[in-house]
Symmetry: C2
Subunit: 149 residues, 2 copies
């Protein structure tokens, strides 16, 4: 799969705004809408494009706190059952099985510190196999982007 300059323009425009009309991109690059359409279908088929998503602003819903939580498990065999429970906690937006100190590493959004404490002490600590957690609260996010193309 080779990507040329036109493909890059298509991708850059749609990464910025996925609802940009194809014809508007066509006018920018100076080829027909049908050609852009064709290229886009090819990019989608190649799996380079994973989809198009509306982005929700968590802040507007009161979710002002981002935190990362490292979770220690008593045994790695408890991983899949723990994941099942973690999936039921909607504030958890990412979950990884990681090398290093922790077994499970999650990213979590909370409305405030009280909610975070509740999530840690009740929802997460009560999961079978969870022995201990370590929390890193994000005070400032300076980078948020996708891999560059």
């Amino acid at each position: 799969m080779k990507i040329d300059g036109i493909d890059k323009i298509i991708i850059k425009r749609l990464v910025k705004d996925a609802r940009t009309p194809i014809l508007s991109i066509a006018r920018e690059v100076g080829i027909s809408g049908a050609a852009i359409h064709q290229r886009l279908k090819k990019l989608e088929k190649s799996k380079l494009i994973d989809g198009y998503k509306m982005v929700i602003n968590p802040r507007s819903l009161g979710y002002t706190t981002t935190a990362f939580v490292g979770i220690f498990l008593d045994s790695s065999s408890l991983y899949s059952s723990a994941i099942k429970r973690l999936k039921d906690i909607p504030e958890i937006v990412e979950s990884h099985y990681t090398t290093g100190n922790y077994a499970v590493f999650i990213k979590i959004l909370c409305k405030n510190n009280e909610d975070l404490m509740h999530l840690l002490n009740k929802d997460i600590q009560n999961i079978k196999g969870v022995s201990r957690t370590e929390t890193f609260i994000s005070l400032d996010q300076q980078i948020s982007r996708q891999i560059s193309i």
Copy 2:
């Protein structure tokens, strides 16, 4: 800002596929396209909607490794200059200033372990003020989602 059931359907559909035609949503909920259009503009103005993004699949570009890196800084006064340097490393997709052990916490995508080592030992360790790093490599990601509405 109050969100009713119709708004939720609009959001759910567009979170799943941002290029879903408004008229297709209109047909699903049984009101006119103009009404959906109106609601959508209102949601966008309310800042609940942060935008629409094409999602790139990093794997298709060879980025098969996700890692989290905690960075220790000699002094917190070096934060802003360090961030400037981190922004120049395209593999870094998130950067946070965090409470806890680390000063800076990043999420990074790499093609392989060699690239990761190079990024850690050359690009990151050479940044002024960086004393030490701790790396957690993601072996398995089970949750990847947005905050629920």
